[in-house]
């Protein structure tokens, strides 16, 4: 039975060994640990418990990587076979579903666990810097290891249930949101209901919900990490979180095995369906005749859902914003129109950021995935014109979100005008704006190189880049290299550097698309 698993395991290891990017990724990880070590060494002169500081940096870095791996690396274990339509072939070759699941998920889990375990000796160095004990180090790695096993199997379930990598990644993301934000949100709702006397404080439903929330907190990796990283931690490394996360991993694997025949064997097309785009020409959601900006028309209707999806977004955003404002208005003593406008503005700003991030990860990737770049490149337009037309078409899909953003802005215009006056003078504001723009460009560029996970990879790269930049700056300032003026000057320089990088990324995307069209 395990022959198939070993065959897949062997293949995965060989592929992993051959790919340069996996070695580069590990190298980057090692460089980051070294960087954290340097920071800790430098800060040990001016602060106590430098070891704990170093250890916390490394652990939260690991935590971020595990989250990103869960969304991209683990969530695509089975979907990539579905997209390449090779599941049937593997089953024909005598690989049974359990072997296949093990063969696809174990190599990924082992790679991640190896990455985690090889740091162990280096993090022991933190003990010598002070502030952290061996028990804490051991407990932290046990916590992360158990969370990793739970998350990898959650990814496996999502990968079995979903037909496409993108959907599986989204499902893992939603599950993680529920895992981390579900208990506090549920607690908030229950407290609200109790304070409004909708339910009695001692009722069974409140007691049961609170016990459930407490269990969720107890099994939370974040709570366990913060507990371990407090001074004087002396509990067992194998706590409640460790066992519940492991159990969750086993249950998720069993669930994946049970669902395999029902979901994974269904023939799927990697091409998107029409969704709400009607085929009948007289319907409101029909794409009608192509616009003169044909690529924009195609991307608006067939990549981003067209008018139908725009209408759904419009209604959903409206309902969600109305509910949010109604809830805040009901629970607050005073809630002015201006405050309502600011709520709408900031909520929709987040929505716009998410929508554009998702668009940037798909806009060029779909052309590569559908092998349509050649026919597109043969149009009598430059690749740059083609790319900008696609961007234009995709941006039309963000109009509903922008609509509410503008409404929110107009309602809260008075306060926003005052704030804007202060914010515009801050180099940090411009740096944030440019960073967001750079993030979208980086995502779009990465999506032309990798099959999946461009968005989380761009996020990790941005996070790491920012961490390196701000720590370096802090060290310069702490080392007496300059005051806030120097910090501002460097921030401006960094903003200019990122702006230049955005311009450079336009050329790089153009070059990359031209190259891909010639393949």
């Amino acid at each position: 039975m395990l022959q198939g698993t070993f065959a897949l395991f062997h293949r995965a290891l060989c592929v992993d060994f051959r790919l340069t990017r996996t070695h580069l990724f590990r190298f980057l990880f090692a460089v980051l640990i070294l960087f954290c070590l340097m920071i800790a060494h430098s800060s040990s002169r001016v602060m106590g418990a430098a070891g704990l500081y170093l250890f916390s940096q490394i652990i939260y870095l690991n935590f971020m990587f595990i989250l990103m791996a869960g969304i991209s690396f683990f969530a695509t274990a089975i979907t990539e076979e579905k997209e390449e339509q090779t599941i049937g072939l593997l089953l024909m070759a005598g690989v049974n579903p359990i072997s296949l699941l093990l063969g696809k998920s174990l190599p990924r889990l082992v790679s991640a666990l190896i990455l985690l375990s090889i740091q162990f000796p280096f993090t022991l160095l933190a003990i010598t810097l002070g502030g952290v004990t061996f028990t804490q180090v051991l407990a932290t790695y046990a916590t992360l290891g158990a969370f990793l096993i739970g998350l990898s199997n959650l990814g496996l379930v999502c990968s079995v249930l979903c037909s496409r990598s993108r959907t599986a990644s989204t499902l893992v993301l939603i599950s993680l949101f529920m895992y981390f934000l579900g208990p506090p949100l549920l607690g908030w709702c229950i407290d609200g209901a109790v304070s409004e006397n909708w339910v009695g404080a001692n009722s069974l439903i409140v007691g049961g919900t609170k016990s459930f929330i407490e269990l969720c907190y107890e099994s939370s990796v974040l709570r366990q990490l913060s507990l371990i990283l407090t001074s004087g931690f002396s509990e067992s490394p194998w706590g409640f979180q460790f066992w519940t996360n492991l159990m969750a991993g086993v249950l998720f694997f069993l669930l994946a095995s049970l669902c395999f025949n029902r979901f994974a064997l269904t023939e799927v097309s990697t091409d998107p369906g029409r969704g709400l785009v009607s085929k009948k020409r007289n319907r409101i959601f029909s794409p009608g005749r192509a616009w003169m900006q044909a690529l924009a028309w195609k991307d608006f209707y067939f990549v981003n859902g067209g008018l139908g999806m725009a209408l759904i977004k419009h209604i959903c955003y409206g309902v969600a914003l109305f509910s949010l404002c109604a809830y805040i208005s009901y629970t607050s003593r005073s809630y002015s129109l201006q405050e309502m406008g600011l709520t709408v503005f900031w909520t929709m700003l987040i929505v716009v950021l998410i929508e554009i991030s998702l668009i940037s990860s798909r806009i060029f990737h779909v052309e590569v995935q559908w092998k349509t770049l050649v026919s597109t490149a043969m149009l009598p337009q430059s690749m740059a014109q083609i790319a900008y037309a696609k961007v234009f078409g995709s941006m039309l899909a963000v109009i509903p979100a922008f609509f509410y953003l503008i409404i929110g802005g107009l309602l809260g215009i008075e306060e926003m005008t005052q704030d804007l006056g202060m914010v515009l003078a801050e180099p940090g504001f411009w740096l944030t704006c440019i960073e967001i723009l750079f993030f979208w460009h980086l995502t779009a560029l990465l999506s032309t190189f990798i099959k999946w996970g461009a968005l989380p990879l761009a996020f990790v790269l941005m996070w790491v880049g920012n961490m390196v930049f701000f720590f370096s700056m802090s060290m310069v300032i702490m080392g007496g290299g300059g005051g806030p003026d120097v910090f501002e000057a460097v921030t401006i320089l960094f903003t200019l550097f990122l702006s230049a990088s955005i311009v450079g990324s336009h050329f790089m995307i153009n070059e990359r698309l031209t190259y891909l069209a010639s393949q």
Partner: protein, 315 residues
């Protein structure tokens, strides 16, 4: 060869991928209205050459690559208006209907909105897809998708069609349909460059061919020219009754016989036809007094040409 001005002119074209040389200094010229068959084994450099002409290959060296007298390197946008390129894979937006697909490309080629409908209907009729106008591309058979892709490249009425393996992976009926479509396009006066492995189909379609192997032309020219050239060393298989003592030496002494090799049940005579015709060889053999059981000149078709000229090498 036709005396019309060249539609395609390629001089000393080199295509390199790192250290790998896919195309090694090939040159050819195709007059207007010709159907040029590009033949060669996998990895011979056919697709690379076609990609250069299609403006998709950016890294290459040449003395000249021109279409209608315009340099491909200098004016790729102008060239794209003149050509229609169909790659060897579908690459179609499968969630669109055939109508949407063609209207999308018609709009992308900036065909006037008022003319689009008529043009789309025309190309659908030409490719016999009118009945499938509202069918999703995804639901079309492989042959139909291929015809749809051909309809797409005809939308802007290009002078030159570059077709990379248009019949690959199609069933016999679909192949015949594509071939008939290409014959129709040939009659419309289009210049066509077509690469294919289905050699006998090319022989019915092409006015000239180029056989490429390991990045170099083995031969090129009109089919008559190539046949004639190969017939110069035609092989004749002969079975002789009785002992063959000394007969091989006698045949070798005939003027025009290049070589004689004894095989299991026959002798194979390689003949230079310009010096000794097949029928004269028969007469001279008979004159020696040998009893001939079988006398068979090797048939010269496109596949024989291909097998004779290529050795299965890649660049």
């Amino acid at each position: 060869m036709s005396t019309q001005p060249a539609m395609v002119e390629v001089k000393n074209l080199w295509v390199r991928y790192g250290k790998y040389e896919a195309v090694k200094g090939i040159s050819f010229s195709i007059p207007k209205g010709e159907v040029f068959g590009f033949i060669g084994p996998n990895g011979a450099g056919k697709s690379s050459t076609i990609k250069v002409l299609a403006t998709l290959q950016r890294e290459y060296d040449c003395d000249a690559v021109k279409i209608n007298g315009i340099s491909v390197k200098k004016a790729p946008h102008l060239i794209r208006e003149m050509i229609g390129y169909m790659p060897d894979f579908f690459g179609v937006y499968e969630d669109l209907t055939a109508r949407e697909y063609l209207h999308f490309f018609a709009a992308a080629y900036r065909i006037n909105r008022t003319r689009r409908k008529a043009i789309v209907n025309d190309v659908l009729e030409l490719t016999d897809l009118t009945e499938k106008i509202d069918a999703p591309v995804d639901s079309l058979s492989r042959g139909m998708k291929q015809r749809l892709a051909l309809a797409r490249v005809l939308l802007h009425d290009p002078d030159l069609l570059l077709l990379d393996e248009p019949a690959s992976g199609l069933d016999p009926r679909a192949r015949i349909e594509v071939r008939e479509l290409l014959v129709a396009l040939k009659e419309m006066g289009k210049t066509i460059i077509i690469s294919s492995h289905i050699l006998h189909e090319l022989s019915q379609l092409c006015t000239s061919i180029g056989i490429i192997e390991a990045g170099q032309f083995v031969t090129q020219g009109s089919l008559d020219h190539i046949y004639k050239r190969l017939e110069l060393s035609r092989v004749v298989h002969v079975q002789i009754v009785g002992e063959m003592n000394g007969i091989c030496q006698k045949i070798e002494s005939f003027e025009g016989v290049k070589s004689v090799s004894v095989q299991a049940d026959r002798i194979a005579i390689q003949l230079q036809e310009d010096q000794l015709a097949v029928e004269d060889l028969h007469a001279r053999l008979a004159a020696t007094g040998v009893k001939i059981r079988m006398f068979q000149a090797e048939a010269m078709d496109m596949e024989t040409v291909f097998m004779k000229l290529t050795e299965g090498k890649t660049a």
